[in-house]
Chain length 132, copies 2
Amino acid sequence: MSSSSYSNYTNSPCAACKFLRRKCTSECVFAPYFPPDEPLKFANVHRIFGASNVSKILHEVAPHQREDAVNSLAYEAEARLKDPVYGCVGAISVLQREVLRLQRELEETNADLMRYASCLGGETSAYGGRRG
Amino acid sequence: MSSSSYSNYTNSPCAACKFLRRKCTSECVFAPYFPPDEPLKFANVHRIFGASNVSKILHEVAPHQREDAVNSLAYEAEARLKDPVYGCVGAISVLQREVLRLQRELEETNADLMRYASCLGGETSAYGGRRG
């Protein structure tokens, strides 16, 4: 929990309770992760996952992992709002294609390297080619 | 829509309507994408996103993109059930690290290549190094 979100929390209801128009108590599971100065973060996860599913996930994970869980949910929600068809799975496809492209490029570069090594003769062991 | 899911749909309620215990009509937005022989697909997206959010997303996207939308939602839901903290954002982090590793490896291999080229003298133009 960042100190800024905590001080905000003590002054006013968290973004989740403000959005859901309910009293924000000291036991509020959302308060440490949805400070009042970031209303969009909660609005996004609520729109994509629903407050009750977010709360369920938060209760499923250990307290020290809840900030990471909220941030990954917020990332997924934002991606789905930007791209309703693919959401963040679109980023996975792009990255998978990039990994394949780099692996091919590396294989070709290693093949070039081996050709140079054989031109120089007998020095292959010094630059044996990098493994991708 | 696959022919198998359609034929299943005509015989029995889709997996969503079966799960939600409601009548599956010819207008059911879920039926083409949640055939009755894949009950887990709907159970997963319902558990993570909620049926109403999935329905909202399906209505937001064009009919020809709905199958992709459902499949990406099912992928995200399954990833979140396996890893409640990071969901499919975990896969994004792994892939981003792999891209960085391959880019570094490619840079180093290109540097080796340039060293070989300078040893052979004047042949740099033939293998000018690959761009990562």
